[in-house]
């Protein structure tokens, strides 16, 4: 049986740079895979390839047996893939709540363009106003899920950094994905905050039975959160296995974790 996500011989070059080289990877449904590796290893590029930001130079990407390679990002999102970004990308001038509502539009289409244009007089109840109200209410459930409902009416770019990351997570969840890609979700957080985020991601992942790919440099979080790990170095897969296996893999220790690394 084919795995949930199947990456075969994935390669991407940017001019002369081989960002990802002949990467093969299988991810089972409902598991968390961590992707680790030094800076410039090609981790974010793998996410960009899965989500269609760039087409692969070579190789195949299969989600539940269906090819994603060459599809535009918005189609890939419809297939059930959502992600967050290493450099936060929010709709900055919108409120926190409207950031979520924007994502909800993918699955909920409460009214048509004709209704929006013609059947929405001011001060009178209309399908548009009812639809918008429903969307705003639904958005709150996602804000509650990550615990930022109190910030609903603030402008997204006025949020502190850590909460912006949580908002990005909530927006990705609002797309109701099957596969969630998190690019350094704990970047810029202190150890306490990152362990709290780890628990949050775990609980959401179980609750929604999501398959998660996570890129992260916080080793404690990675070891705690992930069922399996894939180590990238210079675009190639260096090792793959359970966190325990990776921790004791001599090649990994040498290339990435450094000699004297011990689990905190």
């Amino acid at each position: 049986m084919a795995d949930f996500l199947d990456i075969r011989g994935l390669t991407k070059h940017f001019g002369g740079i081989l960002a990802v080289e002949d990467l093969s990877l299988s991810v089972a449904q409902g598991t968390v895979l961590g992707i680790i590796g030094p800076n410039g290893a090609g981790k974010t590029t793998v996410f960009n390839l899965i989500t269609g930001v760039y087409p692969p130079s070579e190789g195949e990407l299969l989600l539940e047996g269906q090819s994603l390679a060459g599809l535009p990002p918005h189609t890939i999102v419809q297939r059930g893939v959502a992600r967050t970004f290493q450099n936060i990308r929010l709709f900055r001038n919108l409120t926190v709540r409207q950031n979520i509502v924007t994502a909800l539009d993918l699955r909920q289409k409460p009214y048509s363009l004709a209704q929006a244009l013609l059947c929405n007089p001011p001060f009178v109840e209309s399908p548009v106003k009812a639809g918008e109200r429903a969307l705003r209410e639904r958005a709150m459930t996602y804000l509650e899920l990550v615990g930022i409902e109190a910030q609903a009416d603030r402008r997204a770019d006025n949020l502190p950094y850590g909460l912006q990351r949580k908002l990005e997570l909530a927006r990705a969840l609002a797309l109701e994905p099957k596969l969630l890609l998190l690019d350094e979700p704990a970047a810029g957080m202190n150890p306490d905050e990152s362990m709290e985020l780890c628990a949050l991601i775990r609980s959401i992942q179980r609750q929604l039975s999501l398959t998660v790919l996570v890129i992260e440099h916080h080793m404690d979080l990675v070891m705690e959160l992930c069922d399996r790990l894939c180590v990238l170095s210079f675009g190639k897969k260096l090792a793959e296995g359970t966190p325990a296996e990776i921790q004791s893999d001599p090649a990994v220790l040498k290339a990435y974790l450094g000699e004297g690394w011990v689990r905190a």
């Binding site: 989500t51 930001v53 535009p72 990002p73 918005h74 999102v77 419809q78 959502a82 992600r83 970004f85 990308r89 929010l90 709709f91 900055r92 001038n93 919108l94 409120t95 409207q98 509502v101 924007t102 994502a103 539009d105 993918l106 289409k109 409460p110 009214y111 363009l113 929006a116 244009l117 013609l118 929405n120 548009v128 639809g131 918008e132 969307l135 009416d153 402008r155 927006r171 797309l175």
Partner: protein, 285 residues
């Protein structure tokens, strides 16, 4: 009085085109330097329909909007599908505007560079005001809906928008079509206000003025560009400057707004009767 009325009509006509362009520029984040072309298409469509084919004005006016909208597909489909970098897109619109002017100068039905004279005065104060109110109504319904929200998402961050399931091409094309319809209607009203049109009225200068009106009015605002359209029409008149100096007055006003209020008169806000400070957040909130 008729003098003031004339300026007010001109201001409203510019406001109609500016509201349309606000949807494209202020809400979808696309810069155009060719929207005078759509005004031209609307103006000529309406003039030919009424003068050459004897169509009633109230039929010719929506027709002008429709034809202008369709003409926007000519430039919109290839450039927006190719997802050009934004500056390249803007240059493409500039080229389109020039091409349209040259085309109008060389067609027989448009009477070439001499233009069309003797048009009837249909753009009364009442008609223009009614059209402006309608255009604002539609624009407001558009930007306050999920369709406007998709456009705003693209303006805020195209990559994040795409990865929220929003296709860039259809949304941008829809906004462009809407803005072209408004520009076409504005052009048609202009034709029947000035009662004479020729291709040289629809140059890059006119396009630039339209975009300047939207930028000065404020990105992400509908009422801002309306306000700016009135300012740009009345301030040079109040100063009673003529011809060349009028353009200098425009320029000075624009520079003053950009320096004093970089976000535009009403950036990301709307004038609202309910809260006088304009603090209402929607459609961005």
């Amino acid at each position: 009085m008729t003098y003031l009325k004339g300026i007010a009509i001109l201001a409203m006509i510019n406001a109609i085109s500016a509201v349309g362009l606000a949807v494209f520029t202020g809400f979808t984040g696309m810069m155009s330097l060719g929207h005078a072309a759509f005004m031209a298409v609307g103006a000529y469509t309406c003039a030919i329909a009424t003068k050459t084919f004897g169509l009633p004005f109230l039929l010719a006016l929506p027709l002008a909007g429709l034809v202008a909208g369709l003409s926007s597909l000519l430039i919109g489909i290839p450039t927006l599908r190719a997802n050009l970098r934004s500056d390249y897109f803007t240059i493409a619109t500039l080229g389109f505007g020039e091409a349209m002017r040259v085309l109008l100068e060389n067609l027989t039905i448009t009477n070439g560079a001499r233009g069309m004279a003797g048009l009837k005065n249909h753009s009364t104060f009442g008609v223009t005001l009614a059209v402006l109110v309608l255009v604002i109504f539609f624009a407001k319904n558009f930007v306050f809906s999920r369709y406007g929200r998709m456009a705003i998402a693209i303006r805020e961050d195209p990559v994040a928008a795409e990865l929220s399931g929003i296709g860039l091409f259809p949304v941008r094309l829809r906004s462009m079509f809407f803005s072209a319809v408004c520009a076409g209607i504005g052009g048609a009203l202009m034709a029947h206000h000035i009662r004479f049109i020729q291709p040289s009225m629809f140059t890059g200068v006119q396009s630039t003025l339209l975009t300047a009106t939207v930028v000065a009015g404020g990105m992400g605002s509908l009422t801002g560009p309306v306000l700016a359209a009135f300012l740009f029409a009345f301030v040079p008149e109040l100063l009673r400057v003529a011809d060349m100096w009028r353009l200098v007055a425009y320029g000075a006003l624009l520079v003053a707004i950009i320096v004093l209020r970089p976000q535009g008169l009403m950036g990301y806000r709307e004038l609202s009767l309910r809260r006088p400070s304009g603090r209402r957040r929607a459609p961005n909130g």
